[in-house]
């Protein structure tokens, strides 16, 4: 590994896969992934609620795992695959989790919502939550000050049930 000393305004080039597309950017080493998305790439769907890893508003999927993007330096994302809320829908076709959030009224102001949805999508993939209580526990990194929690859990349960149905159909 070669070490390099950086001048304060030195930038480093990285390539990431962002919502399925390759993106090349020069980043300041102090730039977080969250600020890269919001300020430099104009993807403001990912929200800043604390910038300290305490609220989950900035949740994105990095190589399929849910992460707080405010705790990641952009420069460390070279070669990673990142999905944000803008990358969940297929064209006009909303992701099932997005549809379930609307159907269950799982938000009010909508500010925590992109983070909740990314987190919920990953939660379903993780497959660790098998009850309401486990969903609640495993969604507790995402604060909703509007207090939409029960509806968020309802939405996630709907999507899980839908998926179980699909698996059953596929198995039959």
């Amino acid at each position: 590994m070669t070490l390099r000393t950086l001048a304060p305004d030195d930038k480093i080039g990285i390539t990431i896969s962002l919502n399925g597309r390759p993106v090349q950017v020069e980043v300041d080493t102090a730039t977080t992934l969250l600020d890269l998305l919001r300020n430099h790439l104009a993807l403001t769907g990912t929200k800043k609620g604390c910038d300290h890893g305490q609220c989950g508003a900035c949740t994105v999927l990095i190589d399929g795992e849910r992460m707080n993007s405010c705790l990641k330096l952009a420069v460390m994302m070279d070669g990673r695959e990142i999905t944000t809320i803008e990358g969940l829908a297929e064209g006009d076709e909303l992701h099932p989790m997005q549809r379930a959030f609307i159907e269950r009224d799982a938000f009010q102001c909508g500010y925590c919502t992109p983070g909740q949805i990314c987190s919920a999508v990953a939660l379903v993939e993780e497959g660790h939550a098998h009850s309401r209580e486990q969903i609640r526990e495993l969604m507790s990194g995402n604060i909703c000050r509007c207090g939409a929690y029960p509806n968020i859990v309802d939405a996630i349960e709907d999507v899980m049930a839908e998926r179980r149905g699909q698996f059953r159909e596929a198995a039959e």
């Binding site: 304060p8 305004d9 300041d28 102090a30 730039t31 600020d35 919001r38 300020n39 104009a42 403001t44 769907g45 990912t46 929200k47 800043k48 609620g49 604390c50 910038d51 300290h52 305490q54 609220c55 508003a57 944000t84 809320i85 803008e86 829908a89 909303l94 997005q98 959030f101 609307i102 159907e103 009224d105 938000f107 009010q108 102001c109 909508g110 500010y111 925590c112 919502t113 992109p114 949805i117 309401r132 209580e133 969903i135 609640r136 526990e137 969604m139 507790s140 990194g141 995402n142 604060i143 909703c144 000050r145 509007c146 207090g147 939409a148 929690y149 029960p150 509806n151 968020i152 859990v153």
Partner: protein, 746 residues
Amino acid sequence: MLSNDPHVGSPRSRVDGPAKVTGRASYAAEFKATGLTHGYILSSAIPRGRIRAFDLAAALAVPGVLQIFTHENRPQTAWFASSYRDQVAPPGKPLRPLYDAEIQHSDQPIALVVASTFEAARDAASLIGVTYERAPHETDLERARHDSYEPPKKRSGIAPPPDPKGDATAAFGGAPIKVSAEYSLATEHHNPMELHGTTVVWESGGKITVHDKTQGTLNTQGYVTSVFGLSSDDVRVVSPFVGGGFGSALRPHHQLFLAVMASLVLERSVRVEMTRTQMFSHVHRPQTINTVAISADPDGHILSLQHNAVAATSRYEDYQENVVNWSGMLYHSEATQLGYELAKLDIPTPGDMRAPGAPTGLFALESAMDELAHATGIDPIELRLRNYTERDENDDKPLTSKELRACYAEGAARFGWSRRKMTPRSMRAGKELVGWGMASGVWEAMMMKSSARATLGRDGRLEIACAASDIGTGTYTILSQIGADALGLELDAVTVKLGDSSLPMAPIQGGSWTAASSGSAVTLTCRSLCETLLKHAKAVEGSPLTEAAIEDVAFNGGMIRLRREPDRAVSITDALAAAGLDQIEAEETASPGLIAPMRRASYTHSAVFAEVHVDEQLDIVRVTRVVSAIAAGRILNPKTARSQIIGGVVWGIGMALHEETMTDHRFGRFMNSNLGEYHVPVNADIDGIEVIFVEEHDDKVNPIGVKGLGEIGVVGTAAAIANAIHHATGKRIRSLPITVDKLLAA
């Protein structure tokens, strides 16, 4: 054919849902602008004193830094503090950011770094050296309460306590049963998920478009024009989405001032966003100490009721809210004495936070009522029914409606209250103690003057426009529903535009009055649109409607039909085409009646039932069930309405168990100004919330019979939980939040 389901009163998904779940909805700090610069605020490290000197050299040397604003180099702004007063300002002199060297509270903004990138601005701000001259400070309400005073100037819209009725002290002295105690509430911060931010877009010709996190675009506009001496033509405020307000975005905050100031000086677009810690540098729910004394006869009839409160405020403004008046509204008492005083601290001015004053005062009153129930051995609901009043006893006025009895009955039935054992510590589930508690809630049903514009196109599409904000309450949706019903359209044929100061006037979004105010305005506007439409429909050749009056027709499925013979109709398209018009427009204003409110008072009510489980060894409390039964007049959208009440209940749970901004009085600073240490409820804390809307018909409160839902959900919840904790453990905790240490020590 005339019977398509009305949208109003039916559950409908939010019309702004797709924008919010895809990330397309833009909040204040997300608007784009060419050449956008970024401001970062530096906050004071001391609570009181003066800035002696700044050392800016290192900060200015950071590449990308454009300018650092301090009180020493800020541009000239309005001279008088009164120019900084906004629509909701309490009496006093508002903080003027960067005005002079004086520090009035910790984390007061003292400098703004503007740079070409956010990273550079943040870095530079950390390099600014500040020399302070400290002055003695006081942040402890327990000490300052001894110098409390009655606010000499009343805040507009906040009724001071009524004159005493009877001789409460004497009645208390001679009464057979008495309860008397002190109940306190910690400082709380709103902490909406969206940080307070402003993007000022510098337009050609020196005009600015301001995207501000605000519950009132017109309030922001008024503040900016008044402070910077601009005309309202030069300042347009556009804030279509607000990431939570809860009252925190009623008044303009310093990031707005700083962003506009920098933009005007640099002649560039500027964004300034607070950090989460800086979110604790302004408005909050004031720490308040209540003293309540109630006496009763052995049957539980109240003989006297005294409720006095001392609340914290800043040195520079007398923030006031209604803490004690509720005690004169809920129950009948022959002798009542209510009092409200303030005590000055070196803190930022407190402000309205979801149901300002009500949960603070009702925690005290409803805890005391529970103590009275315990002392008399009367069931808590029965005790409340024995003291029920049909009037507002403060002003001795009748009410437009009050279905609180139905709230008690339906809430109790759903909760299973009849199975409650009276004695504390008598119910268990495994190793846990179980407690059931209840409380009442009350909030004002208000209406403000509001206008709206409606435009109907030949294609049958309706656009409704109003300056009001939707802070997540569902305003876009309910206004769409009202408009769709008025013209008989599908919901997706209606577009609602909000949050723009260039649209017809609306009040700030607060006080739970938006549905009543802007909803009434849209109703009137659509009515007038229908009249115009009918006029054009009559002029169509061979029109079957020539003799029809407005009452004789129905608007339905893009047609204007005769009610008696629905097949005889004219389409919207034909009516406008015949008139040679592409669209028709109406604009109307709805004002609260002048006479009615003087004769009758209007309130929403609730009965809240809570179940807690308490670990007997560790005293850890979990709220396992809440039933909130609400009487709030007509419910426009049961789906979004339920969400609003659930949100309020979640706030009540936070107030009861978690929320507390702690101060280190040695330094006069908040200690836990972040979301890791200021605890708000998370998903794991919340389950089993049920909402009931009881039938309440009210044709006097306002033209559409709604009372508002934003606040009532939080009001009685903390008290119900505190009462449940007493029922579970036998421990009466009289200071919120009820944390483990307080229970262990009791």
